[in-house]
């Protein structure tokens, strides 16, 4: 369908230009224009998506897709890292919702547990502790903005054209019937997923688990060594000259010493 192809290409290019304009560049010029271009691109893309059938499913899908894309753009264009993390989290929730609409329940919930519940919270911790006030220069300017937008365009364009070609080849029911047959969308798909993971892919699961365990032990060892080194230095300093104001421990020692005994 040349018509569909043309609209997709226009939408993708518009979106890339919009995102490039919205990326933080040290100045606020063009952010509004970029946002408008992005909105037009989003509208064009959504209007070209194939419909599933029932209006409620369609509406749910379109809303979730829009939320996901808009949040993803927010994650790269905001300047405050905490806001970026929140937008990223919302994008993840949108992805989880899309998976839920598609029937992949376990994948949806696992995404929320692992990404939103564990990884992103850790990010948020670090970000909040790292920048108590003001914003660093590296937050105000994005590196290689136009190049990043161009790379994005290539990936999104290729994906949408390929998937669009597959989807327009046959009716949707055909694909979902196929998915049902192969077990992706089958009822009891958690049990099937478990069978696959611990049957066919047992070795990969075990290797990944061992790798993570080794990484965990390694992290614990590194922390332990650093703490030991610090306490060694501390005790050496304490032994040499007591009232040096190095770190909280010596200050505490001094304040204890000031007290009448």
């Amino acid at each position: 369908m040349p018509h569909l192809l043309a609209i997709s290409i226009i939408a993708v290019v518009l979106g890339a230009v919009g995102v490039a304009l919205m990326l933080p560049r040290g100045a606020a010029r063009g952010r509004l224009l970029g946002g408008l271009l992005g909105a037009v691109a989003l509208g064009l893309t959504l209007s070209q998506l194939p419909r599933v059938g029932q209006w409620a499913n369609d509406a749910l899908f379109l809303v979730l897709a829009a939320v996901t894309v808009v949040s993803a753009v927010g994650a790269v264009t905001f300047r405050n890292p905490v806001y970026c993390a929140i937008w990223f989290g919302q994008s993840l929730l949108g992805v989880a919702g899309l998976m839920l609409v598609a029937g992949a329940q376990f994948l949806a919930v696992a995404t929320v547990v692992i990404y939103a519940g564990a990884i992103l919270v850790t990010f948020l911790f670090v970000l909040m502790l790292a920048q108590p006030e003001g914003r660093a220069a590296y937050d105000r300017v994005s590196f290689e903005g136009p190049m990043a937008a161009a790379t994005g365009i290539v990936i999104v364009g290729l994906l949408s054209i390929t998937i669009g070609g597959v989807l327009s080849a046959g009716p949707m029911e055909h694909h979902s019937a196929q998915a049902m047959a192969t077990g992706v969308l089958a009822p009891q798909h958690v049990a099937r997923l478990g069978d696959e993971l611990f049957g066919r892919h047992l070795l990969a699961v075990e290797v990944a688990g061992t790798l993570l365990l080794v990484a965990l032990v390694g992290a614990a060892v590194i922390v332990r060594l650093a703490a030991d080194r610090m306490s060694d230095r501390q005790s050496a300093a304490d032994g040499a000259s007591a009232p040096t104001l190095r770190g909280g421990r010596s200050v505490a020692a001094e304040s204890v010493a000031d007290r009448p005994s």
Partner: protein, 428 residues
Amino acid sequence: MIVTLLEPLLKIVLLLAALMTACAYLVLVERWMAAWVQDRLGPNRVGIPLTRVRLFGLGQPLADGIKLLTKAQITPSHVDKALFIVAPMAIFVAALAAFAVIPFGSVIPTEGLPAAWRLPKQISLVVAPGMDVGMVYVYAVGSVAVYGVVLGGWASNDKYSFLGGMRSSAQLISYELPLGLGILGVVLATGSLRLDAIIHQQAASGAWNVFTQPLGFVVFCVAGFAEAARLPFDLPEAEQELVGGYHTEYSGIKLVMYMVAEFLHMITASFLIVILFLGGWHLWGVTGAGNEVSWPIALVRIIVLLGKVMVVILFFMLARWSWPRFRFDQLMDIGWKVMIPWGLVNVVAIAAWIEFGGRLSAVVGLSPIVAMALGNGCVLILCWLATVVADPTSIDNRPRRALPVVGQVGQPRPGGNPPCGKTTDRVL
């Protein structure tokens, strides 16, 4: 289409109304409980307005609600406005969303009503009945609730709030692990992640999981208390140290959202304890087991489930007024050094039982359920003894080194140096 939407919408409306009312009246119950424990009267004045009818203070939640809703909403000038508003919404929505998969009864039968009212099919009393991964969903939504706390603490731009938020997120993340391990044993034994399947399995065998997996029950209960941030674990808002913790700067309806979310977490934890370990709607000799029920049995099942939940909630409240708050390092010790090892032992014991239990009970000559209960009870006692002997939570509060006194470095203090603490080279 409209008709298929009608059923879940009705359930959602019912559930929302019931939960909000329950939250309001549970606050009253909690205050009565506090008064009873502390040997005083408690709220007993507010009744019907403009009359002299007092009704034991049953009007109190209404008065509280009106007061909180009409209070001034102060947004301090130093806060991050957007996140300051988003944070209470996030925690409230996450707390409510968990109830999408939590059953509040068994099923409503098709028969037994006048012909005109006949239902086309059985209605199961849960908002999203087809959720195949219900247990993981509750877990996921619970982990999203951390955002409300972290963001509230950060957006307030205030030291106390920030410290409270940090503490709370550390606590919630730590106790998610034992919570998951406690769930894992039940899921292993049932073979399904569906909450209704877990209840059906307990009802069919007649042995509630609390008997067959006592260790998992203990781990899950403690982790549930910590996740709900109830009193022994209410570090995030320790009044003496942090004012109000992460909601120090909040007032008016936003504060109400935080409070209600806290109560909702407690209700969720109680529902989960009842469903996973206390048999859900099942009671021996009263409710039966299968899905073919008559109207009276269906009602009895709802009453049994809610009654059990109420008992667990009362236990939560009683624990609040009988147990002092942990210190932060004690909290972390209990989480990482006691609860997580116990949870791991529980999972290994259950897995081993599923693999070898059948043969073992045949050798011993007991029925599998009795043998499982006995075996896992022994595991609990062994874990307890091992913990008592190793004593990972005992902490020597005395200073770790002899602190040097100015002018007499390296000299012994009068009365000798204090002994070094036992293996507690902690940074905090």
